[in-house]
Amino acid sequence: MDLRLYLLQRLSALVMAPLVIGHIAVMIYAVQGGLSASEILSRTQGSIGWALFYGLFVLAVSVHAAIGLRVIAGEWLGFRRGYLAATMWISGLVLLAMGMRAVWAVTAGGVS
């Protein structure tokens, strides 16, 4: 791992830390008195705030996890150069696409 990826992974961790705390705090708050899909959607649908919150979360997770998977692929599977880059970009883009699709679904209601 070079300095650039090292910095990106630390930066994405810095972004994730408060978002994880916010996510868990809202979960604890939201499950008081039962939990339903309609309750969640009533909070998130049409909310630009939640779209930005989870959009940023997904972006940070995609960057962080992709760099981590790249390291694991190198050290445990012996991947080098092109395969390492492919592991990082494919895993990062898949996570980004799946995550953003979910964020879109619960905020804009585009997919359901």
């Binding site: 791992m1 070079d2 300095l3 990826l5 090292y6 910095l7 630390r10 390291v71 190198g74 050290e75 445990w76």
Partner: protein, 239 residues
């Protein structure tokens, strides 16, 4: 004096592979693992290859894996490592075997060079001698890591080297860190460049096997953390 005997299992082979072979070796008081290897070579099997020089923990030649743990064998007493009257001795990990217990140290030293672990003179013979103030933070960092004897025990202990052959390893990075902090050395930027590439200090997972196993009680993990801080500080525009 007819002493008690122990079983010593020694790895025999070469680059193509090998296996452990058992030897019966007499037990003596104050016997080191290097004494055991020397006894086998002198008394039982003259074809056994191993490497040593000073026998007093200064030269860094006699590193071997004893009962699965990398150690300097000249300063490792048999009584400390004997388990069920057996010792297993293997060549250092993470380096190519030449024969039996002798490994090829070239990759280890090539990485010292790759990490800019070489002196970059800041003055010529025509300049005054550089003053070295002992109680600065930088000099304390140098002093903490300067007693490395290049034995490669940390390199053999490092799981990151095992998983990533490009990783420069604890010894080379420790050397880079001591030079980085040395007022007599002029290559600070070159060092930070050298350790910022793929395989540089950022590949370290801080597992600490190097610091755990260093026979001189150095802390290469801390040195690597220092390099990480210095490279990040520079990348963010600081000094």
């Amino acid at each position: 004096m007819a002493a008690d005997q122990m079983t010593v299992s020694v790895w025999r082979g070469g680059p193509g592979g090998g296996d452990f072979k058992d030897y019966a070796v007499p037990r003596f008081d104050n016997q080191t693992v290097l004494d055991v290897v020397a006894w086998i070579q002198q008394e039982t099997d003259p074809t056994l290859s191993y490497r040593f020089a000073c026998r007093v923990g200064m030269c860094g030649s006699c590193g071997m894996v004893v009962n699965g743990v990398p150690r300097w064998t000249c300063r490792t007493h048999v009584q400390r490592v004997l388990e069920a009257n057996r010792i297993e001795i293997a060549p250092l990990r993470n380096l190519p075997v030449i024969k039996d217990l002798a490994v090829d140290m070239d990759p280890f030293f090539e990485k010292w060079i790759a990490a800019e672990g070489r002196f970059h003179a800041s003055k010529s013979r025509r300049d005054d001698v550089q003053e070295v103030v002992p109680d600065t933070e930088e000099r304390a960092a140098v002093d903490a890591g300067i007693e490395c004897i290049n034995c490669s025990v940390c390199y053999a202990a490092c799981d990151t080297v095992a998983g990533n052959p490009d990783f420069l390893g604890p010894a080379a990075l420790n050397r880079a860190w001591t030079l980085f902090n040395d007022v007599k050395n002029d290559g600070r930027e070159a060092i930070l460049d050298a350790v910022s590439h793929s395989g540089g200090c950022h590949s370290c997972h801080s597992m600490g096997n190097c610091s755990q196993h260093c026979p001189n009680d150095l802390n290469p993990m801390q040195a690597i953390a220092g390099l990480k801080r210095a490279t990040v500080r520079r990348a963010l525009g600081g000094r």
